[in-house]
Amino acid sequence: MPTRRFKIFRYNPHTDERPRYQEYEVQVPTGSTVLDALNEIKWTQDGTLTYRRSCRHGICGSCAMTINGANMLACEAQVHTLKRDPIVVEPLRSFPVIKDLVVDMDGFFDKLLLVKPYLIVKTPPPTDKERYQSPEDRKLLDGAYECILCGACTSSCPSFWADKEFLGPAALLKAYRFIFDTRDEGVQERLDVLDNKHGLWRCHTIFNCVEACPKGLNPTWAIGELKKKVISEKF
């Protein structure tokens, strides 16, 4: 069975003055993911290693981390595809580190709430059926509803590195998901949050978010559509 070296970011704010890196050697059977390797380390070598994970198949979004410099889901990153040795595992950039690979996502979720991530309706629903959404209308949301809120995009965004108040690609993609929902009537309510110095205009179409998204989504494109929408709403 092949063995791989992992160089892992370690930081315990209670005992460490500054972060450090620790190396581990792990046996990796074919098909191992980085999460498998982390589990192996935690369960058999060093129980103090801390990281988030839950579903272990790329849907809960808890295991996003920076692996060999790129943001990805540890549970989807196949060890054999990672050529660099040792494999460097770090917490998501630009979020405050709570411990080791666990970052504080509070700010990230606060921003999500700012864009009002729910259907806003003013007209009463039909009495005999649900609000209608045609298959074509539903198609408009393809590429927007699949976000698993792992934070890989926002953490990879240079605009967010520079301005921690910036809404970030994840929240903006969520705004897109509701603003372009034909049943939604809440554009005006969301306008102030989007047309804001920490909103849409901080995106300079750098495309890092597109590269980082483990679900293959395109927040940059969605942000572009939102910019057009805001311009057409305002002028």
């Binding site: 301005d163 110095k197 849409l200 300079h204 910019k227 305002k234």
Partner: protein
């Protein structure tokens, strides 16, 4: 303190940055073609003088100067907004940029407008 993000959230200036960019591209093309690529004969001071004496060309270059300054200064301001969080610093930077823009615009105007053959 007021957020110095140009009144609104920046939608108008984002839009104008794009529009000015497109218009500048066209103006630049006209400028390059007439001045550098297809000048009739050699470029001489007399010829530039003759061209710049015409009101149409004066207007052309005034628009060029105005849009170029707007586009460039707005670009720097956008970068400043990315990196400068403090309102007081933003105020100072915006003020300096506007003053610089105004001075440069005046310099441009006093060069282009009184130009006579």
């Amino acid at each position: 303190m007021r957020d110095y993000g140009f009144g609104s959230g920046g939608a108008f200036h984002w839009f104008l940055q794009r529009v000015s960019g497109v218009v500048l591209f066209i103006l630049l093309l006209v400028h390059f073609l007439t001045t550098h690529y297809f000048p009739v004969g050699d470029i001489t001071y007399q010829k530039v003088l003759a061209r710049l004496s015409q009101p149409g060309w004066k207007l052309f270059y005034m628009v060029f100067i105005a849009l170029g300054l707007y586009h460039g200064i707005n670009g720097i301001w956008i970068i400043a907004q990315d990196y400068v969080a403090r309102s007081s610093w933003r105020f100072i930077i915006l003020g300096l940029l506007m003053v610089a823009g105004l001075i440069l615009f005046m310099l441009g105007s006093i060069t282009v407008i009184p130009f006579k053959a």
